[in-house]
């Protein structure tokens, strides 16, 4: 097991290098450097521009800048934001809980709805429910996130007025951030009104972000269940005289969960990518929105650091899923 984890961790190194290199290069391909973008139309004397560029090290050859950056990263230094002058790591860590809270709830939503829907669709294969679930999930999967988000805002926030349009918390409330998770912080502070407000703010972004994973989970559960339901051991379970609920909910589901968990793990990448769009639409103060702003400001260190940290998160989750896969599947566990 330890060897397995070490092998996996060593595979992370090339991915790290690739991600760092690509982000570094791509953001520099975008016209306009941080200084030009900041001064905008006001303009700046050419001597002053050169001076500032020199100060930020932007006048040196790209490969030197890259090597410097890598050297910093290897020592755990992600640099400081060119705009706020704060450490990139601390900015990320301040904003990350908001993204994590949203992503976790979206995943919860996708699993809680998608898993049962997939199971029932498989058991009632070919029924109206089955076709309904598959149709809806195909639609959900194909829909652009930003459009879906705007539709929901238009209907529920603007039309019905049920949910707020943007943000994490109503302006009436202030809760001291302890964990950074609004639902937890409001409860810890005993502010139930604030808790409700936070929950209201979460519902729409959660649905928007959770839609694609929901579709994937439902489809995967259905196909995994269909495969498992045809297995010999399901016939054995029935031959034991077990009730249908136990045959499906225990004997079949336990086996079908193995591929489903893998898929859920892979969705974490999609989720963090989707968070960038969702957070922008809902003005959600998380890392997604922060990254978009960093691109607009050409805040090179912030963007590079942010992408690197998100990539790290995704890789860590994938590693965790691989370990969990072994726990779920006895045949894998014993061969390691």
């Amino acid at each position: 097991m330890l060897r397995f984890i070490l092998t996996r961790v060593s595979l992370v190194i090339p991915t790290f290098l690739g991600v760092t290199f690509l982000t570094f290069l791509l953001i520099r391909l975008v016209p306009g450097d941080p200084i030009e973008v900041r001064v905008g139309e006001r303009g700046i004397p050419p001597e002053r521009l050169l001076e500032l560029r020199h100060e930020l090290g932007l006048d040196r050859p790209l490969w030197q800048q890259f090597l410097d950056y890598i050297a910093g990263v290897l020592q755990g230094d992600l640099g400081v934001s060119l705009v706020t002058r704060n450490s990139v790591l601390s900015e990320f860590l301040t904003l990350f809980p908001a993204t994590l809270e949203l992503a976790a709830l979206a995943m919860l939503f996708a699993t809680v709805v998608g898993l049962p829907a997939g199971i029932v669709a498989a058991v009632r294969r070919g029924s109206v429910f089955d076709h309904g679930v598959m149709g809806v999930s195909l639609t959900g999967y194909s829909m652009p996130i930003f459009w879906w988000g705007l539709l929901l805002i238009l209907f529920f926030s603007v039309g019905l007025g049920w949910t707020p349009v943007s943000g994490r918390l109503d302006l009436l409330y202030y809760v001291e951030p302890v964990t950074g998770f609004m639902l937890v912080d409001t409860l810890m502070a005993g502010e139930y009104g604030a808790f409700w407000s936070a929950l209201h703010h979460l519902v729409l972004p959660m649905i928007v972000l959770g839609t694609v994973p929901l579709a994937v989970v439902a489809r995967m559960t259905r196909s995994a269940m269909l495969e498992v339901l045809g297995e010999d051991y399901i016939r054995t379970a029935k031959a034991k005289g077990l009730a249908g609920k136990r045959v499906i909910g225990l004997h079949a589901l336990r086996n079908a969960l193995i591929p489903v968990v893998t898929v859920i793990g892979l969705q974490v990448g999609t989720l963090l990518g989707g968070a960038i769009l969702t957070e922008t639409i809902f003005s959600w103060p998380g890392v997604g929105k922060w990254l978009i702003e960093s691109i607009n400001r050409r805040d090179y260190p912030a963007l590079q650091g942010g992408v690197l940290l998100i990539a790290t998160t995704v890789m860590a989750v994938n590693l965790l899923v691989d370990v969990l896969y072994g726990v779920l599947n006895p045949r894998i566990r014993h061969s390691r």
Binding site: E231, D232, R235, A239, H251, R254, H334
Partner: protein, 332 residues
């Protein structure tokens, strides 16, 4: 008047609805099994023997329709039972052992869990008593170090060991009838003998009835008291094992016996039956066996024979074979 049979099936048919239409896999068979009796069902692949057993167990999927004039177990009408009433019998009074031990056990649960599950559901055992009973069962089916095997997963055991576990699950609640569907087909020859011996021993010790489904005539000769030979979903011949092996009445039975290697000693080639069992779309007119039968006449090609009385049993043939061993010394 003879005692009522344990299993009493009259005119059982099983139909499957496929895209190509309705297919009758089992066509009007009668089957009775007495308390403590060993009945062998033999036939080639596609003769309907497994489907018959699944119908008895109530394990056919939703696309399989069971039609029967009578289907009784221990005097109770299986056809009139609700699914939940049926489940109380299935796995308890009627249990089944399947062909593929490696895939018939759930790979995600330990052997112990899978044995104890049956005991928990049907006998309501729990705790120490449950565990002890599971160990006892593993011991009875000849698994060494049973205590340590409880926590093993199926993939950690061999095919023969898994089949023993399957048998332990099947006999857990002292069934009155055990259905074994080709229990040795997927196993090594040496293991086959052990598993058969185990089944026969358990059957004798417990006095349970046993339906042994196989395509191996040799297995039937060793274990069964009565034989049902099936062909294309119908009963071709049903007679006591001694009489059938001494003098088969249906040409199909005769041909099956001729194809036994031990009966073909001294011949240059092992006799075989030309052709295959008719499938969904190509059931012949007249006797279903006529295209492959050496003795078929024009009557066999037009008229479908009923099950006629022959000595000590029945055979579905207009021209039952005489006492002389069939095919002896003949060149096919």
């Amino acid at each position: 008047m003879p005692a009522m049979p344990l299993l009493d099936i009259k005119n059982l048919s099983v139909e499957f609805t496929t895209r190509a239409g309705t297919f009758r896999a089992v066509d009007g068979i009668d089957l009775t099994v007495d308390e403590g009796e060993v009945v062998g069902i033999v036939g080639e692949s596609g003769s309907g023997k497994s489907v018959t057993s699944l119908a008895v167990m109530g394990l056919l999927g939703s696309n399989g329709t069971v039609l029967a004039d009578r289907m009784q177990f221990g005097g109770k009408d299986l056809l009139a039972m609700s699914p939940s009433q049926r489940r109380k019998i299935t796995g308890k009074d009627v249990a089944m052992v399947f062909q593929e031990p490696m895939t018939s056990l759930n790979p995600c649960f330990t052997v112990g869990f899978q044995i104890m599950e049956t005991l928990k559901v049907h006998e309501g055992l729990s705790g120490k008593a449950l565990r002890n009973r599971a160990i006892e069962l593993l011991e009875q089916v000849g698994i060494p170090a049973p205590e340590s095997r409880l926590s093993a997963f199926p993939h950690q055991l061999s095919g023969g060991m898994n089949q023993r576990v399957m048998i332990a699950i099947a006999i857990a609640c002292n069934p009155r009838l055990l259905v074994a569907d080709e229990p040795t087909t997927a196993l090594d020859v040496t293991i086959q003998k052990q598993i058969l011996d185990l089944l026969v021993r358990l059957q004798k010790e417990r006095g349970m009835a046993l339906i042994l489904i196989t395509h191996d005539m040799g297995v039937v000769a060793e274990t069964a008291q009565r034989v049902v030979v099936m062909y294309a979903g119908q009963v071709a011949e049903t007679r006591p094992v001694d009489a059938l092996f001494k003098a088969p009445r249906h040409p199909y039975t005769g041909a099956l016996l001729d194809a036994l290697p031990e009966r073909a000693l001294g011949k240059r080639r092992l006799p075989t039956i030309p052709g295959v069992v008719p499938g969904i779309g190509d059931r012949p007119q007249g006797c279903l066996f006529n295209p492959r039968c050496r003795f078929a006449t024009d009557r066999c090609r037009i008229e479908r024979p009923a099950l006629f009385d022959v000595d000590a049993g029945k055979a579905r043939c207009f021209y039952p074979l005489a006492d002389a061993p069939v095919g002896a010394g003949e060149v096919l």
